[in-house]
């Protein structure tokens, strides 16, 4: 997760970069980011550990004809009720509408959800102690007009500590 205010520039699509260079984009390039995230001084992505097999990143076409839109929805469960976990929940709420997420999938892809024009909002959270599970179930969403993009972290890594 990164607050968008900590980014100097959001990565452009690979298809745009290839086209500007006079090339022909390969299949799938409109869904790939072709640059690394450009952080402002002090900017970085925050890591959040989730419980295995509790995460999902779905795209759904919602609305009636004439008003249809894509909605990307991410659901995950954070185990525990520690101060760090509750601090994360509070941080999500405080920055709702101002963040972007990178969601690793089991197939090795890393999905990027939330752009400066269509940021991630928190939809709901529920957790604490005394329920079926000890932890927080969190749902966030972004109204991308199209399905979300992916980024190859081997080529364009994420900064995990503040940029100098």
């Amino acid at each position: 997760m990164v607050p968008l205010i900590e980014l100097a520039a959001y990565p452009r699509l690979k298809s745009v970069i290839v086209s500007e260079g006079g090339g022909t984009p390969a299949p799938g390039d409109t869904k790939r980011l072709g640059e690394a995230f450009d952080y402002n001084t002090g900017g970085y992505h925050r890591e959040i550990d989730i419980l295995t097999n509790t995460g999902s990143a779905q795209n759904t076409l919602e609305g009636e004809i004439g008003g249809q839109e894509n909605r990307a929805r991410v659901e995950y469960f954070i185990p525990g009720n520690s101060p760090q976990v509750r601090e994360h929940v509070d941080c999500l709420v405080a920055n709702s509408g101002c963040i972007s997420l990178v969601v690793p999938a089991k197939d090795g892809q890393n999905h990027v959800i939330g752009t400066p024009d269509n940021p991630v909002f928190i939809e709901s959270y529920e957790g604490g102690t005394g329920g079926d599970r000890n932890g927080f179930l969190i749902v966030v969403f972004s109204d991308h007009p199209v399905t979300y993009t992916s980024i190859d972290l081997a080529e364009f890594p994420l900064g995990l500590t503040p940029a100098a």
């Binding site: 450009d38 952080y39 890393n110 972290l153 890594p157 900064g159 995990l160 940029a163 100098a164």
Partner: protein, 75 residues
């Protein structure tokens, strides 16, 4: 006497601000960074988590040989 309701957000001192920003990233001996715009720790996908504070020259060599483009051997 009217109550002064003016408030200001707390601003960290320059020293504290500097602490919030990581120290300059430096490569292990024998290597140098190339186009490195991050802090000292990154998630590099198939290359894993790379922490320059603990990265050994041996591991750096493996990364370079594996095609990691943000590290190069010094000539």
């Amino acid at each position: 006497m009217s109550k002064n309701t003016k408030t200001t957000l707390p601003v960290p001192s320059p020293a504290v601000q500097q602490e919030l920003i990581s120290k300059a990233a430096t490569a292990p001996a024998g290597f140098e960074l190339k186009n490195w715009t991050f802090g000292t720790r990154i998630n590099a996908g198939k290359f894993g988590i790379i922490d320059l504070d603990t990265l050994s020259p041996q591991r750096a060599g493996q990364l370079v040989d594996g095609g990691f483009k943000y590290l190069v051997r010094k000539k």
